[in-house]
């Protein structure tokens, strides 16, 4: 077929590569020695993770009295971090499942790394509620199992129990989805390797995959159905997280807008984190041909869209509070914007509503340094969103005599920093041992927008 450049659809892979070249490019970073940049990043992040591990050990041994919580503010840093990390994970599922259902073929280059990010973010998130239990070794009490206490079962009417089921299903399904996507690529690496330990490991993990048509035939449908299941799952997870708050009668929490507002915010923050990571990964691992500016551009547009939803949610929430004729609601919102925590509220508004607006300009969107800085601001803003929702709704409650304030202790800050250490350590290890790009899928879209005149094959 003649080489025809499409005016309608840009190619997904920047240079005209062959199938074998894709395998070589993606496998190259795994096969050579790690660069000094990788080592530097790995040392910093694993050291940070150790700081977190030390802090967690200390607070588990001593008790959560080491935190800055008090009778009035009973939830603060820990739950903020939990909701923040769960939110980060949601972009991975958006890219891998929702964009798959919408036939957005550009997702093929990004989905593997985004799904890995989801898994690591869920891991980080899971730590926080477990520490918050105070006696984490009693964690299994949330699982309904026949016990010697009656058996006294858990209360299935409680959103906190829903949350346990939602997060564990989400973690498991994300892991399975990721692994199913990995199997063909693991087989590719198995067949490339010389006999040895690595080959044996990849042979075990690839389950004897041989690229047979019979397997591909079922595989395609399994992948599609998993995407179909993961799509409502991701919406349900953050909706359920929001009901942890929305079913309480605390002014500022007790609102019906919470589920869609939380889901939009989660995807917004996650997309920003994917961009932050991708901009580094494509540079460090020399994958510019696969993670092209076009991918960055598409993700920036998603940041604008979800950022807009978040902005509208802020405005709606404030308006409804004022319009509600409920003095407590009105007080909480005025207190958020003008009270002692107003610095946190305005940090949130500036980072989440104003920052994404810069991305409307193509010039800024195609400048990766600018995009990188903007996404960091979005990450900061989204962390503050959860902090504002939790702390400002609690710290001035119905009785002015019990009003209090909240400041995190060094232990809490060390735990948050440590969770970033865990996240980046896991991500760096993933980049070293597994293919960062889904080779099997990229090969399928290699000629997209190139040979067939822009027709999707």
């Amino acid at each position: 077929m003649a080489e025809v450049a499409s005016a309608l659809r840009l190619p997904l892979v920047a240079s005209d590569t062959s199938l074998g070249q894709v395998t070589r490019d993606v496998c190259a970073p795994m096969e050579g020695k790690p660069t000094w940049m990788w080592w530097a990043a790995f040392l910093v992040s694993s050291a940070t993770m150790l700081v977190g591990a030390t802090a967690v050990t200390y607070q588990v041994a001593t008790g959560i009295g080491t935190w800055g919580l008090n009778r009035t503010v009973g939830w603060a840093f820990d739950i903020t971090n939990f909701v923040f990390w769960i939110g980060i994970g949601h972009a991975g599922t958006l890219i891998s499942a929702i964009l798959f259902l919408f036939r957005q073929r550009w997702r093929t280059a990004v989905n593997r790394a985004a799904e890995a990010m989801t898994l690591f973010a869920v891991m980080c998130a899971g730590i926080f509620p477990i520490i918050h239990m105070g006696r984490p070794w009693m964690f299994f009490f949330v699982i309904p199992y026949p016990n010697t206490r009656g058996p006294l079962w858990i209360n299935f009417r409680s959103p906190l129990v829903w949350d346990f089921f939602a997060i564990s299903t989400y973690g498991l399904i994300s892991a399975v989805f990721w692994y199913i996507g990995l199997i063909p690529d693991l087989a590719t690496i198995r067949d490339r390797e010389k006999p040895g330990l690595r080959k044996t490991i990849f042979a075990i993990l690839s389950l004897g995959w041989n690229g047979s048509f019979r397997t591909w035939h079922h595989y395609e449908l399994v992948y599609l159905l998993l995407a179909g299941l993961a799509t409502p799952l991701v919406l349900s997870v953050h909706s359920i997280v929001s009901t942890d708050f929305a079913t309480a009668v605390i002014p500022g929490w007790h609102t019906t807008i919470f589920p869609p507002y939380f889901v939009a915010g989660a995807i917004f923050s996650g997309m920003a984190m994917v961009l932050t990571l991708m901009i580094i990964v494509r540079k460090v691992m020399r994958l510019e041909n696969y993670l092209t500016k076009r991918h960055i551009d598409a993700m920036c547009k998603l940041v604008i869209a979800t950022g807009g939803m978040v902005g509208i949610a802020y405005a709606t929430e404030f308006f409804i509070a004022m319009y509600s004729a409920n003095a407590y609601e009105q007080f909480v919102f005025m207190n958020r914007a003008l009270g002692p925590m107003k610095w946190a509220y305005w940090t949130m508004v500036c980072c989440n509503v104003i920052t994404p607006q810069f991305l409307w300009f193509k010039k800024l969107r195609s400048n990766l340094v600018v995009v990188f800085i903007l996404t960091i601001f979005v990450n900061i803003g989204m962390w503050f969103e959860r902090f504002v929702i939790i702390v400002t709704s609690l710290h001035r409650d119905f009785l002015p005599s019990s009003w209090a304030t909240y400041a995190p202790t060094s232990i809490e800050i060390a735990t948050l920093v440590g969770s970033f250490g865990l996240f980046f350590t896991a991500f760096l290890l993933f980049c070293r041992v597994l293919p960062v790009i889904a080779m099997g899928e990229v090969k399928g879209v290699l000629t997209f927008g190139r040979r067939t005149g822009g027709e999707a094959k």
């Binding site: 077929m1 062959s18 199938l19 074998g20 395998t23 309904p144 058996p151 006294l152 079962w153 858990i154 209360n155 299935f156 009417r157 829903w162 089921f165 939602a166 299903t169 498991l172 399904i173 399975v176 199913i180 199997i183 063909p184 087989a187 590719t188 198995r190 067949d191 490339r192 042979a203 075990i204 690839s206 389950l207 004897g208 995959w209 041989n210 690229g211 047979s212 048509f213 019979r214 397997t215 591909w216 035939h217 079922h218 595989y219 395609e220 449908l221 399994v222 159905l225 998993l226 299941l229 993961a230 409502p232 799952l233 349900s236 009901t243 080779m439 099997g440 899928e441 090969k443 399928g444």
Partner: protein
Amino acid sequence: MNNRYVVSLFEDEHDLLAAVRTARERKLKIVDVHSPYAVHGLDAALGVRPSWMSWACAVFAVLGVSSMLFFQYWVGAVDWPVNVGGKPWNSLPAYIPITFEALVFGGGIGMVLTFFVACRLYPGRPAHVPDPRVTDDRFAMVLEEADAGFDLDDVRRLFSGLGAVEVREHVSEEAP
């Protein structure tokens, strides 16, 4: 007893599709087709029925939903009823979120396990690849020399003309 197989290797998915169609027209017995990625149109060219995995998904999803819904009802209304904020023993709306999670869990995990069993994928299974490059950049079509009228030279000429980079015979008990 050993069987004779013919493995044709292609570099391009379009050549593979054309070869598969020709082989079917000639009534040659296709044992399997191997490719590094899912080739679209191959199921139509081979004339296979749609995958039945959606049924596995549906069965396990229904199983997940019904067992979780029943369990929550049994716990809340039968085994140890606890008055939580004056809500009824059987608080059906409050059971919906977990029931939904059970749908996803049952459907997803059940279907994937069915897929592993149906395709005989398990850790430690030896990979039977006709050529190590079929997981990299080659497409392979495996034919069985099913009857005495099978002419290897003719088949070799036919598929080489259709773009095969290599056509070779493989003698073994099982298909490569």
